[in-house]
Amino acid sequence: MATFKDFRNKVKPNWCPGCGDFSVLAAMQRAFANVGLEPHDVAIVSGIGCSGRISGYVNAYGFHGVHGRALPIAQGLKLANRGLTVIAAGGDGDGFAIGMAHTIHAIRRNVDITYIVMDNQVYGLTKGQTSPRSEMGFKTKSTPHGSIEAAINPMEMALTVGAGFVAQSVSSDLKQLTHVIEEGIKHKGFSLINVYSPCVTYNKINTYDWFKEHLVNLDDDPNYDPADRSMAMQKLMENNGLVTGIIYQNKERKPYEDMIKGFKETPLSKQDIMLTREQFDKLVAEFA
């Protein structure tokens, strides 16, 4: 059985020292091993940006695509081979700016993949511009007088559009982060995991210390019930989205693959594709 070390490769990440994404990488590797996966069972589809490089840092199959489109690539891959564990990963710009439509529709569609957003509330790879996750007033190169646009609250948004699995964690809590990724993988259907992954270079506001001070860990609340959607929404609103843990999980909803008429357990990619003469004749008869 594979251990987390089997998911490591020899590529040295090009992230800044102290970047939150290192923890996400480590948590992913641990989670894969903990749920009993082998490297060839896993495919990571990532977007563009600092975080998008993550697919190249895991010893597994990796697809580094175009900006904002990790989700449709990942869904196409999962539909082609439902036997794979498919992880989509990227940054907050990828998921909540250029790719926001895909995020919402992937949630609605509910294909059984896990989406990990490394949310640093800033654009790092382009050297520090505002992100849809930047708080109002946040000063960057593109917002020298402070952002005048409201920040998106991705967890509330996900609940609103009907997500079946919504979790949030932070890079400084490797244990919880690993746990929520494991649960996301095990969840049947689309799971959204937003990770506060601090940018040590371009975000001097939302730092490790800042999160330590502001985050509320739902795991510490014995009365919190992740099956209760309205409680989830209330908690998010009360804390301006700054909570960690599994925020909401609906175990009843079937994944997309299980709802497609005629869709088989055998992955599409492994099925015989040549029609028989009889099948062909029947198809052609429609046009006679």
Binding site: A43, F63, R69, Q75, G76, L84, H105, I260, K261, I273
Partner: protein
């Protein structure tokens, strides 16, 4: 008795015009006649003038004609808009209900038939279209029995009573016309050869081709004039374990297709110009990552939203060049419904053989024009997955977290492709420049080698069955007429007329646009004094492409049309003729 004629039915959109044309055509196709049907419609669901023109012939036809023999009108607007097309001695069958009148200067004969009244007597006013079918059949000399099977299939689920009523409506239409004009009509068709053939639109043929090619996933966003491909596959793919995903936009569609092909299933998307514009970045990703992908573009009037329901061929250069950077890409352009079927199968093979995106370029007239197709041949369906590592092939152990050389340098530039999930096949895929295992690399030596590797895949040509359709019997020709996509039949008819007048005319229809078949075109162009390029666009895109690849600019003449309508044979004929009259040839 005549060999061929044109029949048109028109009225308000949603009045049963389509089904009148459909039923008449299907019955005639089954009797062994050759047909070509073209719908004139607007971007709305109900209301607005709409018509369907059907060419009926005892020999193959692939074009609408200049003339019209029979016009069936459900309103005066239909007569006012279309009567000018009628030949001397043509006939208008119009619903007596609206007191039809023939516009001044039109010599056609008007026969007012109580379509609505008869339909009401039979039981339902909306069956007026079936009365019209009967009235038309009487003129053509087609017996009522010819419709029995078609009507049964079409209305069976509504019960025998409805079948009978529709048949009665047809019979009453026949009877009325015979009682008015007698059993003598100038439009009686000569007997057909009685052979069984198919009758389908290009989009049906593309969709059927995709199923036959083993495509099992489609991701698409609805758009005119491509949606029929999606509709067909929504109906049929589940029977073969596959599915269609209607995505949030065309970017999601193409990237889902890329993900699915990467995962090992043959997947496609289909759209028109606006969708293709959105897809261009991702097409570059497919080229860079050497991922197969099949994309159908059913061209319509552009730019922007343009003319969504009208014919144009103005996406040609965009399909070749719209992606940033330089990638290997194949663009093929079928010109008949039959070719739509076989070319789609080839497209999936090419995409996997050369590991690159393949665009099937159609146009509205080909995608929606309905034509007789010779029986499709099961034995011509071949599936070739190129250098795909098969499921049962064992790969050598990867030591020490090494990676599989997915982008290995090879003599033909094509590397072995392994699917995710395969043991010992681990590798990376990225749109960033990469080394042989898919790891990002900015090394200039590697960069150049990788660019050369990708581009070399197509550098020596591709294995495509018919890069140029040729009807070129003259070693020394006055004219070579060149076209692509739906203009095939129209050019053929213009050519026949020119030849009848003693001109020597060859015809070349470009079917493989990229890589461009330079040698074949150069050889044909050398034989001709002038080369006429017929294309539905304003700027002469194919003309310029030929100029770029072949040269011989002094021989090239561009004939363009971009008013939204397909060419008529007479338009091509006249413009070619003028070149003679003015001494250019």
């Amino acid at each position: 008795m005549i060999k061929q004629l044109s029949w048109k039915v028109g009225g308000q959109q949603g009045e049963g015009i389509d089904s009148a044309g459909e039923i008449l055509a299907t019955a005639l196709n089954r009797k062994g006649y050759y047909l070509y049907g073209y719908r004139h419609f607007s971007s709305r669901i109900k209301g607005g003038h709409s018509n369907t023109k059907i060419r009926i012939s005892t020999s193959p036809v692939r074009s609408i004609s200049d003339e019209l023999d029979i016009l069936v009108a459900f309103d005066q607007e239909t007569i006012d808009l279309n009567a000018f097309e009628l030949i001397e001695g043509g006939i208008i069958l119009a619903d007596a209900k609206f007191n039809p009148a023939v516009p001044e200067g039109i010599s056609a004969r008007l026969l007012a038939v109580p379509f609505t009244k008869i339909a009401e007597e039979v039981g339902m006013a909306q069956m007026k279209n079936m009365v019209a079918v009967g009235a038309s059949a009487a003129l053509l000399g087609i017996s009522v029995d010819a419709f029995q099977e078609v009507i049964e299939e079409r209305f069976a689920r509504k019960g025998q009573k409805i079948v009978d009523k529709n048949m009665e409506a047809i019979s009453r239409g026949v009877e009325f016309v015979i009682s008015e004009v007698g059993d003598i009509s100038n439009f009686k068709l000569e007997p057909s050869d009685g052979k069984k053939r198919l009758y389908m639109i290009g989009n049906d043929a593309i969709a059927l081709g995709a199923v036959a090619a083993g495509a099992r996933l489609m991701a698409a966003y609805p758009i005119t004039p491509s949606s029929e491909i999606m509709e067909y596959l929504i109906k049929r793919l589940p029977e073969f374990g596959g599915t269609v995903v209607q995505t949030e936009d065309e970017i999601a569609a193409i990237t889902m297709v890329i993900g699915a092909n990467y995962g090992g299933v043959r997947a496609l998307t289909a759209s028109a110009g606006p969708g293709l514009s959105l897809m261009t970045e991702a097409i570059g990703l497919a080229g860079m990552t050497e991922t197969p992908a099949v994309i159908v573009n059913t061209q319509r009037g552009g730019p922007s939203t343009g003319l969504p329901t009208k014919q144009e061929q103005s996406d040609l250069l965009a399909m070749l060049y719209s992606t940033h950077g330089e990638i290997p890409k194949i663009v093929i352009a079928p010109s008949t419904a039959e070719e739509c079927f076989y070319d789609t199968i080839q497209a999936f093979n090419l995409a996997e053989q050369y590991q690159c995106p393949v665009i099937i370029l159609s146009d509205l007239a080909l995608s929606l024009g309905k034509q007789t197709v010779e029986p499709l041949d099961y034995d011509r369906i071949k599936i070739d997955r190129g250098k795909l590592v098969l499921d049962d092939e064992e790969l050598p152990e990867l030591e020490n977290s090494e990676l599989f050389p997915r982008y290995e340098f090879t003599p033909d530039g094509i590397s072995r492709r392994v699917l995710p999930g395969k043991k010992n096949g681990l590798h990376h895929v990225t749109g960033v420049e990469h080394d042989q295992t898919g790891r990002p690399s900015e090394n200039p030596v590697n960069r150049k080698k990788m660019m050369d590797k990708r581009l070399s895949k197509l550098a020596n040509g591709i294995q495509f069955e018919e890069p140029v359709f040729l009807d070129a019997k003259h070693e020394e020709a006055d004219l070579l007429i060149v076209g692509f996509c739906s203009t095939r039949g129209t050019i053929h008819e213009a050519m026949e007329r020119l030849e009848a007048e003693g001109m020597k005319v060859n015809h070349a229809h470009v079917r493989q646009v990229l890589p461009f078949p330079t040698d074949i075109m150069a050889e044909q162009m050398k034989k001709a004094k002038k080369v006429i390029v017929v294309e539905n666009n304003a700027t002469g895109q194919l003309t310029n492409l030929i100029k770029m690849h072949v040269g011989m600019a002094e021989k090239l003449v561009h004939i363009g049309k971009y008013d939204g309508n397909p060419f008529l044979p007479s338009e091509i004929y006249k413009q070619c003729k003028e070149l003679f009259v003015h001494g250019h040839i």
